[in-house]
Symmetry: C2
Subunit: 161 residues, 2 copies
């Protein structure tokens, strides 16, 4: 697994649900996070732009939270897709998940100008809900640990109340 992600689940999100600032392939101003399988683990690579600083030299924690968030929903979608018999890149629309909860422990300051790798393990806790356990590395350094609980997007999410 390199920084290139050939098949990402975000490529298979329905068009109208592909505008997420974090991971929507149609939101060109966003981060364009892409999440795929590496064996039975999920992976998202990202090298943040310099503007995403906490203090100069270190990555902004909100960027890491954002990466973990979309990695979590993407991992949940990957897991449900595989459970249904599909892999990303096969042209089958994937289920879109939303985040129910996001927990991030910042282990150590995250250096800038270093590719970040989020590695996740999705765990089914309900047929429509997954808990994704994630570690974020900068090079070999474990910088953050996170747990995201993601649920299949409810119909109520499709129109503002």
């Amino acid at each position: 697994m390199t920084e290139e992600m050939t098949y990402a689940i975000q490529d298979d999100y329905p068009n109208d649900l592909a505008y997420c600032y974090g991971c929507g392939r149609l939101n060109k101003e966003g981060h364009l996070f892409r999440t795929g399988w590496d064996g039975d683990q999920t992976v998202t690579w990202h090298t943040p732009d310099d503007v995403y600083t906490a203090i100069p030299g270190f990555v902004y924690g909100g960027l890491i939270a954002s990466m973990v968030d979309c990695h979590g929903t993407g991992s949940a979608s990957l897991a449900l897709h595989r459970k249904n018999g599909y892999e990303p890149g096969e042209g089958k629309e994937a289920s879109r998940f939303v985040t129910a909860s996001l927990n991030v422990d910042y282990i150590k300051p995250t250096p800038q100008n270093t590719p970040l790798k989020a590695i996740g393990k999705p765990e089914e806790v309900h047929p429509k809900k997954f808990k994704v356990h994630t570690e974020v590395y900068a090079g070999d350094e474990l910088c953050a640990k996170a747990v995201v609980t993601a649920a299949v997007m409810p119909d109520t999410f499709t129109q503002p109340t």
Copy 2:
């Protein structure tokens, strides 16, 4: 308390620690979050730009996590500043905090084009560490609840390893 925040703790961060993408007053490309007191509660107002979408019509969860993150470190700084006898706007440098952990429960989808208000209660758990309990409202709607644990920035944070 209106959307105008006259005295924000971020105005009193040291110059070299005021480049945070979320709340650094010197990072003009960032969100420029500003956090101040409303009685014994802390408040951050923010209306996200349209680009920060989850799906069209709703705010990106990573933006909410970012807002809560900086609101948390700002609230901790406000609390320590007050404990030391100071209020923002008095020209006394405030302590800069970093996030140890960030927990966000997304209660309901957050509508766009609506001012968001984070309201926090800082709780001292150690002389250099505060737990900040926060609620995020869009208008009258409670959209997210969060707990941030923030610690005074260690010296090791000032240079990349």
